[in-house]
Amino acid sequence: MDLGEINPVLLVASLMVAATPLLLAAIGELVVEKAGVLNLGVEGMMIVGAISGFAISVETGSPWLGFVAAAIGGAVLSLLFVLLTQVALANQVASGLALTLFGLGFSALMGQSYVGVKPPSMGDIHIPVISDIPVIGPILFQHDPILYVGIALTAAVWATLKYTRVGLILRAVGENHDAAHALGYKVIKIRIMAILFGGACAGLGGAYISLIRVPQWTEGMTAGVGWIALALVVFASWKPWRALLGAYLFGGITVLQLNLQAAGVAIPVEYLAMSPYIITILVLVILSADKSSAPASLGRTFHASH
């Protein structure tokens, strides 16, 4: 056992990478839930995004096109959820679970010829001077662009929900859809937009795993990150910055426990492997002990009665 082998700078830098897929998916789902829709299909949309992004970037040679395709892939799959829950008014929980099962199976089918292929690399950004600052440079300014997209998206979602009229209407729809309808807002339309946004974000998150974090394609490679994202939204009390905090915490402990495993710490591997899940949930439960207010219409089907 040699803890000295763990490089703190690399550790922090890689925790941000480990956290990004989770953050992207959670921010998307946060918007969906703020609009009053519970989409349990995050895992399915992520894995479909992962393979769509992987396939397109292999075929075109452009990781950027891959990420665009991943967002579209995730959104297209969420369209299925839209059809089920917003048009056919089916139960959201069952539809979301179906979406995940479908996404896992469908991505395996799509990905058959891509197993073992290496995707084109996106490359990290390098800003002269800033990126070369010791310690801070490698931690904050030597990552791939999508990681910054994730952080920017968090800030954008936070500001939109808090300061803009669109955000206010979105929250209103999630809070009391009957009242929003009575005031003349298009509840279904707003929810569809939110679901599509959530699908696109989940798709991006999935592609981040297959194109940057792991870079390769394996069946079921999202490995439950979609479910963690769902839990993260709840424990983050539907607050974007808390979701970011939770994602980094989860990413951090994931990376740390991998490092500890490599360093040969005398804790059974199983305990180390489960630690990110347990610690993240514990911390967020404590954080959400204040009045964690779920959107009041969350998961309820809206049907205009007149």
Binding site: R165, A172, D178, A179, G184, K291, H306
Partner: protein
């Protein structure tokens, strides 16, 4: 004659199985307070939804200042100066006052400006309001202010108010009326929907009466007696329940020092409640909705458990017993919300009869259900309480509100309770059915049952209860005999104007 502000001509709207509005025509003049009067289900709400653009009429036209007016959506109606205060408030609990108001406006100014305009308008009309408070924490009267101010900020030409006083104390009603009078003096027309006749007589210039979707008459309320209006509304003469003088027995229900937190986030905790109800006595509990009524019913039914000796039944401590154990003893309850609390909407009447009747009526043995007995119990309720339904196999949801209410109350009454607790027994029920339900409650009391009737309808409480107490912010006033109580005293028991500033207009 000048052109009326809004003229309705032959408006008709049919839903599957029912014609909600049938050739309704009337005019609303400029600066007029026009009452729309009718029982529940008379088509008042559908009519105003058409004016507000939420529902499209099947036929008929509307003219606004002589111009054709057919708003495709509420936005268009608001742009033309129509504003509406909803009966069930269309507010968002988790958002603050300013955010709620911004949602009801087309082009809201930035939040800071909006907040100062809310302050300004609310002071002008004597409805002080803090723009940054969370709506979920406001009282019913304050919530209504939010709705009214939301409307006023848009300079409405016509303000529609759907049953605005059903959630207010008499003192709060007075403040509201002063505001409405000020609006009228400024030239705003008001369409005032209500079934409270005395209010209409004091406030309104003109009244249109709807019955079963048809315009059955118009009158000038100040010159028409309440009784005449009521008979136009109902279409027949009204029966008042009879109350025979009776002796009270010993104390059946003894509640002392009952304090429980509310199970829901925006609910009201009960604080140190004391009351006793004797056998044969009807205790009426008034108060504005949301002051602990649901919690009190829950504590008495056993849905909320309390300290064992906070509630005693014939001297036995039952505070820690659940609903089934209490039912076995003879403590029965009928909650307010018919669909979802008192009855399971998608289950048949037979199944619903079983749900509360199984213990006392012996409808199950060794875990198996006795469907034949259950069905005859359901049929007994249907015939005894004149529930209009094709049969007990129909889903609870398919019944009209009044019929389901008769079923829900009848189900408890027929189980011969020793104590019956009802919450809003006649809410949303037409006058004839309401009279039948009240009579059933009185008959039950005459047989020696102790009855607790929680209601927001003060007239109802005065009619059936022997003593009266009021819930206000989770506290219960000391019960007083009903005879001799004045409206002012009742209003004060209900918390007066809840510390709201009186309108200075």
């Amino acid at each position: 004659m000048t052109t009326p502000l809004l003229s309705l001509q032959g408006l008709t709207k049919a839903y599957p199985g029912v014609v909600a509005n049938d050739q309704v025509s009337f005019d609303i003049g400029e600066g007029e307070v026009h009452a729309l009067l009718g029982e529940n289900g008379a088509g008042k709400s559908t009519l105003v939804k058409m004016i507000y653009g939420l529902v499209k009429p099947d036929s008929g036209t509307m003219l606004l200042r002589g111009q054709p007016f057919a708003p495709p959506e509420p936005r268009a109606a608001r742009a033309d100066g129509i504003a509406m205060v909803f009966q069930h408030f269309s507010l968002f609990d988790a958002l603050n006052v300013a955010e709620n108001i911004a949602l009801g406006m087309e082009n809201p100014p930035p939040m800071g400006d909006l907040a100062s305009r809310i302050r300004e308008v609310s002071e002008t009309y004597g409805l002080p309001l803090d723009p940054y408070r969370t709506v979920g924490d406001l009282s019913a009267g304050e919530r209504q202010r939010v709705e009214i101010i939301r409307c006023l900020l848009q300079d409405p030409k016509l303000l529609i108010m759907d049953e605005p006083t059903s959630v207010l104390t008499p003192q709060e009603v007075e403040i509201l009326f002063e505001t409405l009078n000020k609006l009228r003096s400024e030239g705003t027309s008001i369409l005032y929907i209500s079934h409270k006749l005395e209010e209409i007589r004091t406030l309104c210039d003109h009244a249109t009466i709807l019955r079963l979707g048809k315009n059955v008459g118009e009158c000038v309320p100040a010159e028409t007696s309440a009784r005449d209006m009521a008979e136009m509304m109902v279409g027949s003469t009204l029966q008042t329940p009879e109350r025979s003088g009776r002796e009270f027995g010993e104390v059946a229900l003894d509640v002392s020092g009952l304090s429980v937190p509310s199970p829901s986030e925006f609910g009201t905790a009960l604080k140190n409640i004391h009351m006793t109800v004797r056998k044969g006595e009807v205790l009426g509990i008034g108060g504005v909705a949301g002051n602990g009524q649901d919690e009190l019913l829950g504590a008495l039914s056993g849905e909320i458990l309390t300290a064992a000796d906070a509630i005693k039944f014939n001297g036995q401590r039952i505070g820690k017993l659940g609903p089934t154990a209490r039912r076995k003893l003879g403590v029965l309850t009928a909650p307010e919300e018919r669909l979802g609390h008192a009855a399971a909407p998608d289950m048949s009447l037979t199944e619903n009869a079983l749900l509360t009747g199984s213990v006392r009526e012996g409808l199950e043995s060794n875990g198996f259900l006795k469907w034949a007995e259950t069905k005859s119990f359901a049929e007994k309720i249907i015939s005894a309480f004149d529930v209009r339904t094709p049969g007990p196999e129909n889903a609870a949801r398919s019944l009209s509100g009044g019929n389901l209410q008769k079923f829900v109350i009848g189900r408890e009454v027929l189980q011969n309770p020793d104590i019956l607790v009802v919450n809003q027994p006649t809410w949303g029920v037409d006058a004839a059915a309401a009279a039948a339900i009240r009579q059933a409650i009185l008959d039950l009391a005459a047989k020696g049952t102790a009855v607790v009737c929680i209601s927001q309808d003060l007239d109802e409480l005065m009619e059936i209860s022997d003593s009266f107490a009021a819930l206000n912010e989770g506290r219960l006033s000391a019960p007083r005999p009903t005879t001799g109580l004045t409206v002012d005293e009742i209003g004060l028991m209900m918390g007066g104007a809840h510390g709201m500033e009186v309108a200075h207009v």
